[in-house]
C-alpha cells in the first residue's frame, strides 16, 4: 500500500506565507479593476471541486460507515431496514477475541516501530555526522529499497521465508538442517520481521532531519567545556534529535496498527492483525454493520494516537 510513501529525500515542508503574502491573501487586491474574473470568483472555481470531491469520496463514506455501525441488523441496503441500535458495539465489547486482537496488533505495532526507530537511528547518525561528502549518495542507497514497490518487498519475504523458500533451501543445501523449518512463515514473527524491514528507511528520514538541524557550535562549545563524546551525545545529540525520533515512531506506529496486507501475505491465520477482521467482515463474512463498528473503533484509536502525537511533537520543530 502506498502508505507513508512521501518518496522525498527530505520531507518538503510548507512554511508559513510571509506577512506580505498574508496581506495579499487578505484581500488587498480584491475585486481590483473589475476586469475578467476577480479573486472572489476564482476562489469558487478553486474551492468547489476539491470540497465536493473530498466530501463525496472521503467525508461521506466515513459518515456512512459511522451510520452503518449503529444499525442493529445486518442488512446492506441504504434505505431499508434501518433499526438503530448499539448492538454492533455491544457485540464488539462482548467478544473478547476482538479486543485481544486489537491489543496484539497494538503490541506488534509497538515492537515494530521501536525496532525500526532503534535500527535506523545509527543510520541517520552516520549520514548526518560521519558520511562526509558521500552522504547524499549513501542516502539514495538507503532510499532505493523504500521506493521499490511495497507489495514486492513483502512478496520477497514470502519467498525468503517459505517452507521451500530461500532460507530453508540454503540451510538444507549447506547441511545446517535436515528438515525445512516450518516456523519461518505464516506467524506473527514473520509479520514483525517484514514490517521492520519495510519501515527502516522511512524511519531514518525524520531522525536524519532532526540530526541535521543540530548546530555544530553546540558540540564545539561542549568540547571546549570538557564534555566527552559520550556526554555530548547524551546531553546534546539525543535530546535535540528527540522530536525526530518521536515523529519516526508515530509515522511507523500509526500505519502499522491498521495493517492488513502484510499479515495477509506472510502472516497467515496465525499472524492475523485487527485490520484483517475488518477485511473479513466486508468480504467473506459480509456483516457490514459489525465491520463498520470495528472500523470506527480502529479509526477512533488512530485519531487518538494522532492527537497524542501532535501534543508530543511540535509541528514547527519538524517543518523548519
Amino acid at each position: 500500500m502506498g502508505r507513508g510513501k512521501g518518496r522525498s529525500v527530505t520531507t518538503p515542508a510548507p512554511t508559513l506565507p510571509s506577512p506580505k503574502s498574508e496581506a495579499f491573501g487578505g484581500g488587498v487586491l480584491k475585486g481590483r479593476r473589475g476586469r475578467g474574473l476577480d479573486r472572489r470568483s476564482t476562489f469558487l472555481i478553486l474551492y468547489l471541486p476539491p470540497l465536493i470531491w473530498l466530501g463525496l469520496f472521503f467525508l461521506i463514506p466515513i459518515l456512512l460507515m459511522a451510520a452503518f455501525s449503529f444499525r442493529a441488523d445486518t442488512y446492506g441496503a441504504l434505505f431499508e431496514n434501518w433499526n438503530l441500535g448499539l448492538n454492533q458495539y455491544a457485540t464488539v465489547v462482548a467478544t473478547g477475541s476482538y479486543w485481544r486482537l486489537l491489543a496484539v496488533s497494538s503490541l506488534m505495532a509497538l515492537v515494530i516501530s521501536i525496532s525500526a526507530v532503534a535500527l535506523s537511528y545509527p543510520l541517520s547518525y552516520f549520514l548526518a555526522f560521519h558520511a562526509g561528502k558521500r552522504a547524499g549518495l549513501y542516502l539514495v542507497l538507503l532510499l532505493v529499497p523504500f521506493w521499490t514497490s511495497y507489495l514486492l518487498r513483502v512478496m520477497a519475504w514470502k519467498i525468503m521465508l517459505g517452507t521451500d523458500g530461500v532460507i530453508n533451501s540454503l540451510l538444507m543445501y549447506t547441511g545446517v538442517i535436515k528438515e525445512p523449518l516450518e516456523a519461518l512463515l505464516y506467524n506473527r514473527s514473520a509479520v514483525i520481521l517484514t514490517l521492520i524491514y519495510v519501515w527502516i528507511p522511512f524511519a531514518a528520514l525524520p531522525i536524519l532531519a532532526a540530526l541535521q538541524r543540530i548546530e555544530w557550535t553546540l558540540f564545539e562549545a561542549a568540547a571546549d567545556l570538557g564534555a566527552r563524546p559520550y556526554h555530548q551525545f547524551m546531553r546534546i545529540t539525543l535530546p535535540l534529535s528527540l522530536p525526530g525520533v518521536l515523529a519516526a515512531f508515530f509515522m511507523v506506529f500509526i500505519p502499522t496498527i491498521g495493517e492488513y496486507v502484510t499479515p495477509l501475505l506472510v502472516g497467515g491465520s496465525r499472524g492475523f492483525m485487527y485490520g484483517n477482521i475488518i477485511q473479513d467482515f466486508f468480504t467473506k463474512a459480509a456483516n457490514w454493520p459489525l465491520g463498520s463498528a470495528l472500523s470506527m473503533i480502529m479509526l477512533a484509536a488512530t485519531l487518538i494516537l494522532v492527537f497524542i502525537a501532535t501534543r508530543l511533537i511540535k509541528l514547527e520543530d519538524l517543518l523548519q
Binding site: G2, F24, G36, A77, A156, Y197
Partner: protein
C-alpha cells in the same frame, strides 16, 4: 565529536543494514532469471524465458494496462486538486480553510483498510459497480496529501509580490495564475504528478476492496500468488515494473530538487 571520520563499526553497521535491505530485492531479481519454478537453492540454471513468456500472457498485460489507466487518471486528478488546494492554502484567507486542509490531509492518517471499506460501502449503496474508476477515485483521495504538500511548499518558496506586479500591470487573477503562478510552480507540478502516479501504481490495500472484475496489477499479482508455476512470470513482470517505478521516482526527485 569534532572528529568527522566514520568510526569503523558505524560504517560497518550502515552497510550491513544496506545489504539487508537489498537482499530480498536481489533474491527476487535472481529468481526472475532462474530456470526452476521453485525458489530454492541451488539454482538449476539461468534463463530469460520468463520475460519472454510475460509478453505472451494476456491477463498479465491487461492487468498492467489497467494499472496504467488508473495511475494516469488518478494522478492527473490528484495533481489538479492539489494545485487548487495549494493556491487556496497559500494565497487566500477564508473561514472554512482549516476544514478544507484537514479534509485534504486526513487521508494520510486514516488506515487504508478503513478508507477502503468505507468507499466499498458508499459505492455499493449507490449501486456503482466496482471498476477501474472506483479504484482511481480512491487513489485520488490518498494521493492528494502528497501532491498538496509538494506544490504548497513550492508556492511558499516565492513571494506573492510577483503576482501583485502582474495584476498591477492589468492582468486579472485567473490570467495571473495561468501566466505567472503556474509556470513558476511547474517543476513541483511535475514532481507531484509523478509521485501521485507511483503512489497509485503499486497501491494494493484499497484496490483489493474496489477493483471488482478488472484487477490492477498488484491485485492480479496477489491473486496469482497461489499458483506456483505462474510465479516466475509474475516476478519477471514485478522486476520490470520495479525498474519503471524507480525511474519515475528518480525523475520526480530531480524535478523536486530543481525547486530550490
Amino acid at each position: 565529536m569534532s572528529n568527522r571520520r566514520a568510526p569503523f563499526p558505524l560504517s560497518l553497521y550502515y552497510f550491513s543494514i544496506i545489504a539487508f535491505l537489498y537482499l530480498p530485492i536481489a533474491v527476487l531479481f535472481l529468481f526472475s532469471i532462474n530456470t526452476n519454478t521453485t525458489f530454492s537453492f541451488p539454482l538449476k540454471g539461468l534463463t530469460l524465458d520468463w520475460y519472454q513468456k510475460l509478453f505472451q500472457a494476456d491477463a498479465v498485460l491487461r492487468a498492467a494496462r489497467n494499472s496504467l489507466i488508473v495511475a494516469s487518471g488518478s494522478s492527473f486528478a490528484a495533481t489538479l486538486l492539489g494545485i487548487m488546494v495549494s493556491i487556496l492554502m497559500m494565497r487566500y484567507q477564508f473561514r472554512s480553510k482549516t476544514l478544507l486542509l484537514g479534509l485534504a490531509a486526513l487521508p494520510l492518517i486514516v488506515p487504508y483498510v478503513v478508507l477502503g471499506v468505507a468507499l466499498l460501502l458508499l459505492f455499493s449503496v449507490l449501486h456503482v459497480d466496482r471498476s477501474l474508476l472506483t479504484v482511481g477515485i480512491a487513489h485520488t483521495v490518498v494521493a492528494l496529501p502528497y501532491t498538496l504538500l509538494i506544490i504548497a511548499s513550492r508556492l511558499a518558496g516565492f513571494d506573492a509580490s510577483i503576482e501583485e506586479a502582474a495584476m498591477d500591470l492589468g492582468a486579472d487573477y485567473p490570467t495571473t495564475l495561468r501566466r505567472v503562478v503556474l509556470p513558476l510552480i511547474l517543476p513541483a507540478i511535475v514532481s507531484a504528478w509523478l509521485t501521485a502516479f507511483t503512489v497509485s501504481f503499486d497501491e494494493f490495500a484499497l484496490a483489493l476492496f474496489l477493483a471488482g472484475t478488472q484487477p490492477t496489477f498488484p491485485v492480479y499479482l496477489f491473486s496469482q500468488l497461489r499458483f506456483a508455476n505462474r510465479l516466475p512470470i509474475m516476478i519477471a513482470l514485478a522486476v520490470l515494473l520495479m525498474i519503471g517505478t524507480l525511474t519515475l521516482v528518480f525523475i520526480a526527485e530531480r524535478f523536486r530538487r530543481r525547486e530550490t
